[in-house]
Symmetry: C2
Subunit: 303 residues, 2 copies
C-alpha cells in the first residue's frame, strides 16, 4: 500500500491555491478558468541519464525534475502555475527517501508559486524515474525558438559550462528573469540551454532559418568550466559550448533592445552578448579571437 | 541523435487543432484561452508493472499509456482536449518499435479529438516507461469521488474481471459515455475502475464518508473473468471484485436518476445497478445471494 500511503502524505503537504478548485486525490485536478493563453511542457528524468544517486541528494533529484520543466516555461516567457509529478520508485527505496524526492520538488514549487495538483506513484525493481508536467500562463505572444530575425543580437544569462560539478542538479530555473524581461522588452527568439549552447543555439538557427555567429571571447564561462577543464584536458570554452544542463536563457533581440537589456541593472541575472543573427543558410559559426568565422561543431553531453 | 530524429518524426505525424496555437517542437506548447474550467491528470506506465513486452504490442502499450489518462478525464465527466507524452525507451528498442508506441497513442488521440502537443524522449539501458498527461474541458461542476449521498444507487458501466486476458491492454476509455451522461444526468460521485472494483468503490465510501453495500448477484461479470476463473481456482465474482484495470465508470446517483439512466437506450455503453450508498461508517459491504451484508475485503491486483 506504498502508493496509497504516499498519496495521503502528498495531500497533507499540499494546499490548493485560488486558481485550483480541486487538488490531489481525485481522478484529476480541477482548474478554474483563465483568460490567459497557456503553455504546457513535460519532462522525464531518469536515473543514470539525468541524475545519479551517488552524486545528488533525493531532494536535489526531486527539485531538478520540476526545475527542468520550469526552465522550459521560462524559455517561453511564461509564468508557471500548476504542476503534476510522476514517480517510478525503486522498490528498495525507503519511504523517507521517496518523501525527500517529493519534498525537493515541493520546495521549488513553493518558491515559484506553483501548485502541485496531482501525480502518479508506483514502485518497481528498476531505477528511479521522475516525470514532471507544468502549465503556465502567457500574457504576451510567447517567445518561440523560430522567432530570430536578421541583425538580432544573441544574449545569454549567467555563465556556462561545467554544470556536472553541481549546477546541473541544483540550478534555479530562470522564471524570475523571464518575467522581468517579458514585461519590459520585445524578445524575438528564446530557448533554455538544456542540451548545450551549441545544440540549443543551432536549434534557433534551424527553426528561424538564419545563420548565427558567436564570438569565442564573449562567452561567459563559469568557474566550474575552468575547474573541470583542469581535469578533462578540454578547454573551458569547450565546456561552455558543449556541456549542457546550464539551464540559462538564450535569447535573440533587436540591437536596440540588446543595448537596453545590457544596461538594465534591475534585472535579477546579468545577460551577456555572445553573437549575432544574420541572413544566409541556417548554420552556426564561431569567430575565434576575432578571426574569420568558421563552422562550429554541434554537440552536447552524451548521457 | 535518436531523440532529435524521433521528435522530427513526431512533428510530422501531428497537427495543431484550432485550440492549439503551437504544438510539438518548441520549449512548450501554446494553448489558446478557454472559458471552461479544466481538468488535469497524469499517469506513468512501466514495463513489468503495467504492461509486458511479451503480451502487448508496441501499439497497445502506447495506446494504453494515453488511455489510462483519458479514463481519468472521463471519470471527472470532462472532455479530453490536449495531451503530452514522455518516453524512456530501452536502448536496444528499434526505431520502428518506438514509432509503433507513439502511433498507438496517436491513433487513440485521434479517436478522441485529443491534440498531442509535446513530449520528452530519451533512451537508457533499462525498461520501457511511458508517461502521459492530459488536459480536459469541464462544462459542469465535475464528478468527484467524494460526492456520494445517502440513498444513492451505485452504477457501473460494462462488465468486470479478467482484464489480464486482453482488456487491460486494449480498452476503450469511457469518454463518450461520460459525455453522454454529463449532458443528461446529475452524477453525484464517480471514478474509473483502475485498481479494482473493491478498491475504487471503497475510495468513494472513504472520501464520501458513507457506507456502500453491493449485491453479489448484480455485479456484471465479463466472459474473461469466467474464462480466467477456470484456471485460477478463484470464482468469476472474485475476479470481478479484485482484478482491476477494467477502466469502466463507477458512479453513484439519486434513485430517480438511476432509473432514468437504466432505461436510457441511447447510451453507448450499458450500465448496471450493483448496490446502494447509506449512512454509517465509511465501509464497503457485500450481500451475498441476498443474505445479510458482510464486510468486503478490499484488495486489488498486485503488480
Amino acid at each position: 500500500m506504498f502508493e496509497f500511503d504516499f498519496i495521503e502524505w502528498l495531500r497533507s503537504q499540499t494546499s490548493a491555491p485560488p486558481d485550483v478548485e480541486l487538488g490531489i486525490g481525485d481522478d484529476a485536478a480541477i482548474l478554474r478558468p483563465t483568460t490567459s493563453r497557456q503553455v504546457l511542457t513535460t519532462d522525464l528524468l531518469m536515473e543514470g541519464i539525468h541524475f545519479e544517486l551517488s552524486s545528488a541528494t533525493f531532494e536535489q533529484i526531486g527539485r531538478k525534475s520540476l526545475a527542468v520543466s520550469l526552465s522550459d516555461i521560462a524559455a517561453m516567457g511564461a509564468i508557471p502555475t500548476v504542476a503534476v509529478l510522476n514517480f517510478a520508485f525503486p522498490r528498495q527505496l525507503a519511504f523517507a527517501d521517496a518523501q525527500a524526492v517529493f519534498r525537493g520538488a515541493l520546495q521549488l514549487a513553493k518558491e515559484h508559486n506553483v501548485a502541485l495538483v496531482g501525480g502518479d506513484t508506483n514502485r518497481w525493481n528498476e531505477k528511479l524515474v521522475v516525470g514532471s508536467t507544468v502549465l503556465g500562463r502567457l500574457d504576451h505572444a510567447g517567445w518561440r525558438i523560430s522567432g530570430a530575425q536578421p541583425g538580432d543580437v544573441v544574449l545569454v544569462s549567467g555563465e556556462l559550462g561545467g554544470s556536472l560539478l553541481g549546477k546541473h542538479s541544483d540550478f534555479t530555473p530562470r522564471c524570475q528573469l523571464a518575467a522581468e524581461l517579458a514585461h519590459r522588452y520585445p524578445i524575438h527568439a528564446a530557448t533554455d540551454i538544456s542540451d548545450s549552447l551549441s545544440l540549443d543555439l543551432n536549434e534557433i538557427a534551424l527553426q528561424s532559418n538564419l545563420g548565427i555567429t558567436i564570438q569565442s571571447g564573449s562567452i561567459p564561462i563559469a568557474a566550474a568550466a575552468k575547474l573541470q577543464a583542469a581535469h578533462t584536458g578540454r578547454t573551458p570554452l569547450e565546456h561552455a559550448l558543449y556541456d549542457g544542463e546550464d539551464f540559462e536563457l538564450l535569447l535573440t533581440v533587436a540591437p536596440e533592445t540588446a543595448r537596453a537589456i545590457l544596461q538594465d541593472s534591475a534585472l535579477s541575472v546579468p545577460l551577456t552578448e555572445i553573437g549575432r543573427v544574420h541572413a544566409g543558410p541556417a548554420e552556426l559559426l564561431i569567430s575565434r579571437d576575432g578571426k574569420a568565422s568558421e563552422s562550429l561543431p554541434i554537440k552536447g553531453y552524451e548521457h
